[in-house]
Symmetry: C2
Subunit: 345 residues, 2 copies
């Protein structure tokens, strides 16, 4: 099974997930060949090529793993983390720290169609996808070993997608990832100082200035962050304070679907169908154990969930790897203006 390892210099956890004995040829990068759609493991009729499903939408009430589905959730066939062993197995390794690769790694097959873009989904389909995100988040948070659940989508090969068929992924981890932990601390410290939410304050400033806003229907706002790392990096944020995506109502998800689709349509027109990633940043699992009393709870309630979209236009180079510092050639003001002025026809 895989292992989580901690780097004491960088204070960073890494998942070492060796799937098979290392052979020389496994190390060499190769360009992904476009797959023949008739071989796609996510297409209807090929359900036997995925592990048995966790949940599915079947309006006609068919059997699990039959072909009459509109959406399926299955475990990842090559999971980075597995749910099985009971113990986390935390241990020292001399100076280092490690634990078992416990967690979950799931794939949401968004629809039977092999190549429909999310921006073009009928409204019911995007709504169902977001409701499934929420359902999996709520379910995985029952596991007290899991501190964090990340929902994300890789669209296009440059964004790391290895299969073309529309799908999202979920990875649940026994630690809170660093990126989220920093956001939690920022939000908590701002709240302690001001008794206001940091992200609520940001929304207010952005709405007042307007120069980085792309979409605002009063419920959800899409904006280019002030210190965007990448050209056309965007955030979608619920305007009403809410720490967890698991608390979004059906109506919220309906409005989020509209906001997400319009934003992705604008990006597609602006960037000629560039690859992208999106991730949902929600509060960590308040039920996780061991819990310092009130710790996660406080953090969670100071937090404000949001969705981050990163178009994959630029390459990471030595400077970015070496520093965690980014050089962005496109200001968020220019990106937002360009996206606002796109005609959706």
């Amino acid at each position: 099974m895989s292992q989580l390892r901690h780097d004491p210099i960088q204070r960073r956890w890494v998942i070492i997930a060796e799937e098979r004995q290392s052979r020389s040829t496994d190390f060499i990068p190769h360009r992904a060949e476009p797959m023949d759609a008739s071989l796609c493991p996510f297409c209807p009729g090929r359900e036997r090529f995925t592990p048995p499903e966790i949940m599915a939408i079947r309006p006609n009430g068919g059997e699990p793993n039959a072909s009459d589905w509109l959406q399926r959730v299955v475990p990842n066939r090559y999971p980075a983390l597995r749910i099985e062993p009971v113990e986390l197995g935390r241990a020292a390794d001399g100076l280092y720290d490690r634990m078992n690769g416990i967690g979950a790694h799931e794939v949401i097959i968004e629809c039977p169609e092999h190549d429909q873009a999310l921006a073009d989904y009928p409204q019911i389909k995007i709504h169902n996808l977001l409701k499934t995100y929420r359902a999996r988040l709520v379910d995985l948070m029952q596991d007290q070993r899991l501190r964090y659940v990340l929902i994300f989508k890789n669209q296009g090969e440059p964004a790391g997608a290895t299969l073309q068929h529309p799908h999202s992924q979920i990875i649940a981890t026994p630690i809170t990832p660093r990126t989220v932990a920093i956001e939690l601390v920022s939000c908590r410290e701002h709240y302690r100082l001001k008794e206001r939410c940091l992200i609520c304050d940001i929304i207010q400033q952005e709405v007042t200035s307007g120069e980085r806003v792309i979409y605002d229907d009063g419920a959800f706002i899409a904006l280019a962050p002030y210190a965007s790392r990448f050209p056309f990096e965007l955030m979608i944020i619920p305007r009403a304070h809410s720490h967890s995506f698991s608390e979004a109502s059906d109506e919220d998800l309906s409005l989020l679907g509209q906001c997400l689709q319009e934003t992705l349509k604008r990006l597609r027109l602006a960037l000629e169908d560039a690859a992208y990633n999106y991730v949902i940043h929600s509060a960590p699992n308040a039920a996780a154990r061991p819990m310092r009393p009130g710790y996660w709870l406080t953090l969670a309630q100071d937090y404000h969930w949001h969705l981050e979209i990163i178009p994959r236009l630029t390459k990471m180079a030595g400077f970015e790897w070496g520093t965690g510092f980014y050089i962005n050639p496109t200001s968020p003001e220019a990106a937002a203006k360009f996206l606002r002025e796109i005609s959706l026809g």
Copy 2:
């Protein structure tokens, strides 16, 4: 000029460096075409296509910017940061923080040859390159506005290199980048607790186990870090404690050159000439102002400089962006074993 901006949620500085008015076509990613070598701005005879040189090696004592050089250092033609204005111009922008894009961005043209690999350089050439790194580091640290100087190399297009001609880069910044700041704090806290250097302790553990070591001549060690983020990620570390690359002696640099070349040769054979980045992590500029008394000094002396090599085999996807957490399919033990067993012929 460019601007440094701070993200209050992620607590991260970003350089917004707009080179030109944004036009739609500037946003769209295009594949780099292999450049006709006769158009290369770094080849001898084309010195007018770079800004005037900062330093050069000319054994025959020619004029600056003449064609008889063995190595040149020039300002980057499209610099992310510039040295010119006197003031940092720190300012609030509502909730946000910004400052002027002060710093330096230099290119080291390593040799007249258009396509020689660093692993194949004659010994004098790699030695000269490392001595130039040191000279530029020492010189840039005279500027009290500059807190950090990063020396790095992008080799190959997937690693972010836009020109084929062998070159390295230097970026000096008015803040200490986050990645380095975390390493400094780790080293300082370990020292306070143990009165020993964290990285010296790691070297001792790695030498004792040996399973992640690729090269060890008693002066420099090359190893695959315990919690490697990427397949075949490597570190080269001087075995004797030293906080700054600026303090390396000529003899140190000669031994480092041998270690670096042998390591890159093994990587090339193992990974079929894969692209890579390397970066030198050295202590921040102890002369930078304003300085909290003793702050940088303490940090600097607890630190232990090293060089990090990242072969570019895998793609960053949504999970990595969303969490700062990495999934590595190759254990460092497997990578180190494979590299050790490569025959250099």
